[in-house]
Amino acid sequence: MKIMGVGNAAREHAIAEALERSEHHPKIFWLAEIRNPGIFGICKRTGGDFTLSKTTEPEKVANYAERWRVDFVIIGPEEPNFHGVPDELEKRGIPCVGASKDLAMIEMSKADMRRLQWEYGIKGKLLFKTFKSSQDAYIVLERYSDTLTWLQNVALKPARQAGGKGVKVVEDQQLYLHDEKQRFKSRHADWLEDYMKSYSDIDDKILVEEKVWGPEYTLQCFTDGKSVKGMPLVQDNKHAHEFDIGTETGGMGSISGPDFNLPFITKEEYDESLEIVKSLVQAIQDKTGKSYHGIVAGQMMLTEIEGPTIIEMYSRFGDPEALNVLSTLKTDFIDICLAILDGELSKLNIEFDKKATVVKAIAPKGYPDYRELAKNHPVFIDEKEIEREGCKLYWGSADLSEDGKILSAGSRLVEILAIADDMQEASRMVDNCIPYVKLLDGWGLFYRSDIGSYELLSKRIDVANRVRRLYHYRREKGILGKRIDWLPKVGKTDPVALLKNELSKSKGDG
């Protein structure tokens, strides 16, 4: 069997490794933009091939798939989906595990995803507004700045998926900082408008959502369009520094297990979250008339206002979340891919090891704000020692040059995974491996030792309990999902009704 993968991060390394483990003993081929040493090694070992190519050009990707005569293609990152790579492959009769362009809209346009959710009445919604310019956004934010409405405490986001960057939460709750917070809002709106100039594929530029708080988690699922099967819950840690401080990154590490769920999420909440993801998959299929076969994931948060709530959707595995689930997957990954492609996922029993996993990313200093500084440092890793500690190394943003040297490529360099009976043990195992990753020119590296620690986990449990009490109370009183705003001279208003009204009007216009 021949399989081709697309993408070059640690997530794709984990996918390649899961494919390699299969009883089908496939030859693995890969298309990537930098030469990831891990994936490169797997391709060579299995008798496949590795080529550097742009991965967002459907023609190019399909050409390689045809040339290598692969049985199917699996897409790692989101951008190839947004650019229609799966569509082109299918047009040429090559099966592809990956969401086609129209379906990937649930990830690419955060605004359209929200509209879809409101239109189909799917749970876990947030109030939102979209804007085409920062000026428009600011006028609205300014108008409501002194009133008790949801527009006081907001998350300002790029309306399009932009690699997890550019989200700013502004909580205008301290009166003494009111002017500053107003300034932040307008400045970030300007920044977003500028940032979104490089993307011409969607109309909306700025998304403003109500601010929520609570523990976040990722629910990744396999789907063949008919059934949606959930994987173990994973939590990613976005902040650059210990105890959730510093800039938000693509993810500094993730935890899962030991028993399918996370210690701070209940079985009931897992089931509700899965229901929400299923409904969204059905809604987008209904809207586009296409069948979704690939990976879909909900980046969720437990909130006081709605319970399990969608923050964003992924049309692929999360990075680093993919490592947690693929490393404990007991069922043959290729069997799953085939079931997805044949539409027979419901017949397959998918099993995972009942273990805790901890993944920690190691990044060169400079990441994420000054990536140029983090680039081009020679890397040395003692893989034998890492193996001896019982951990697994996944290469991320690292480039293997022709002469065998490995250079850092600016983002998270490697991710190290440990599997153990409990999370603290797995966390300690990863920490033991840190000294084996070095940059030969002495440039510094950083990672987060607190991921998987008792202290951080206790914090998460505490936050989850507080949110749970609130949303359970709302549910008992029958006011889950209800909001009330207060406008001067108008009085009590229902922002949910206003939003629904607005959405149905704009539909009529369109």
Partner: protein, 475 residues
């Protein structure tokens, strides 16, 4: 020189007026110092005033002019030196290097000799200035804060929680290797502001999250690259101040991960078990003893009532008496406490107080309660008998002024001390806490605390201090 104080440092990665955050934090650290306050903002120098934070409406205008993204602040209550504007923090060392300090230097003269070998300095230097000058000497030689602190920590004995603002606009914070005084790190998400504060209660009022405590012996540096930390001394043995838990800190604060309110409540419950007292009503001495009195009441099932009221609407009525520098003013504040006759008249009253230092306020309270008709008065004290001066940052008076020393000298038998103090205060019973009971209720083994004011054993300070008279201390 002065310091049992509150410190704050803040560094924002957004364009924000840090002075607003600093004064907000200082307002909620006011219980740590009422004599003077000040802030220093990078690029603007320092602004200092006597009295309470923003007491004078003019202050708002002055603060508003200080625009910058990094700064430090301080509220002061003196252990050494008088209450003058010169002694207010932050103190400028050389040009544009500012330092704020909470703690006391125990080997002042020794360090003074060392420093004056390299620079001529005025003899009237305060201990904070001395630390600052020494640090600058070390930094100029080593060009590295980590090494400088390594050396300083060996030369210095005493307690110090420091925040510093450097000429380059870096924010530094350091906590002595024993962790005498508290210091913690906070973060405000949307303004991307890192905070270093004496107590976590300031973070709550700023709207920031408590990240963690600064570890004993840790140096924290915040600059444009974010937060980095170094251990300049790794000492397994800690000497946290138990007085923080019983009196000093704000009940909402977390010190070393332990909430002060709950600790006080447990202390009260432990005391109820220790002294199985009979009584009609439990009343706290406002305000710091209230959680302990509640804990005592729940454990003993004797009802809790507010039998003493502090008149917080009168001028100075809501201030804390213990940290007032002048005895007359101290008594004035104590006298603003009145008894609720309806609660205490004809009753067997158990009064819970945090500590007895000079005994002034206890005498006044016993007198007030008697006049209000209390039948029998018992005092339960959450802190063990204080018989030795503090050289780690609390302004206890000279040994002669400490009531437990005056009446009991070096006798260690607790029952004897209880009886003597009951006699001295002219009340029916006094029940002090002991070291074991207090440590257990807070939640650490006794070895994690500094009890030098109880035992007279100053070994955790690395030196045996010469007891000085009050006049010498206050210079």
């Amino acid at each position: 020189m002065k310091e049992k104080c509150g410190v704050i440092g803040a560094y924002s990665f957004e364009d924000i007026d840090i002075s607003k955050i600093l004064v907000r934090g200082l307002e909620s650290l006011q219980h740590r110092g009422q004599e003077s306050w000040g802030i220093a903002v990078f690029g603007y120098g320092a602004f200092k005033k006597l009295g309470l934070v923003l007491e004078d409406p003019e202050d708002y205008y002055n603060i508003d002019k200080m625009r910058g993204n990094v700064g430090i602040g301080h509220v002061r209550y003196s252990t050494k030196g008088g209450t003058t504007i010169e002694n207010a923090h932050p103190i400028e060392i050389g040009k544009s290097f500012f330092i704020s300090h909470n703690g006391t230097i125990a080997n002042f003269d020794e360090l003074l000799n060392k420093v004056s070998k390299e620079n001529t300095i005025l003899s009237s230097v305060t201990d904070t200035e001395l630390i600052g000058i020494r640090l600058k000497q070390l930094y100029n030689r080593n060009k590295d804060w980590h090494t400088s602190f390594k050396i300083l920590s060996r030369e210095l004995s005493g307690s110090y929680s420091l925040v510093m603002l450097t000429e380059k606009g870096e924010l530094l914070a350091a906590r002595d290797e024993r962790g005498f005084r508290p210091l913690c790190i906070g973060y405000q998400e949307d303004t991307k502001t890192y905070l270093i504060v004496s107590e976590s209660c300031a973070l709550d009022s700023i709207g920031a999250n408590l990240v963690r405590d600064v570890k004993p012996g840790e140096l924290v540096k915040i600059d444009k690259n974010g937060l980095s930390t170094f251990m300049f001394c790794d000492n397994e043995n800690h000497s946290h101040c138990p007085f923080e838990y019983t009196y000093f800190a704000h009940p909402s604060s977390y010190l070393e991960g332990i909430n002060v309110y709950l600790a006080r409540s447990r202390i009260g419950a432990e005391l109820a078990k220790k002294y199985q007292l009979e009584g009609d009503v439990i009343i706290p001495v406002p305000d710091s003893a209230r959680p302990a009195a509640r804990g005592f009441s729940v454990e003993s099932k004797i009802p809790f009532e507010e039998g003493l009221m502090k008149d917080r609407y009168r001028k100075r009525g809501s201030l804390r008496s213990f940290i007032e520098p002048i005895q007359k003013r101290r008594e004035e504040i104590v006298k603003k406490i009145s008894a609720v006759r309806a609660v205490v008249n004809g009753k067997n009253v158990i009064v819970v107080d945090d500590s007895i230092v000079r005994g002034t306020s206890s005498l006044v309270i016993a007198d007030i309660l008697r006049k209000a008709g209390a039948k029998k008065i018992s005092f339960v004290i959450t802190f063990p008998p204080i018989r030795y001066p503090c050289y780690a940052g609390i302004d206890f008076p000279t040994q002669e002024e400490l009531i437990a020393y005056r009446f009991c000298k070096d006798k260690d038998d607790l029952n004897y001390i209880n009886e003597m103090i009951a006699f001295a205060l002219n009340v029916d019973f006094v029940g002090y806490n002991d070291i074991e009971g207090l440590s257990k209720a807070i939640g650490f083994p006794p070895g994690e605390f500094c009890f030098s004011c109880v035992t007279g054993d100053y070994s955790c300070l690395k030196c045996t201090p010469k007891f000085k008279s009050r006049e010498e201390m206050k210079g």
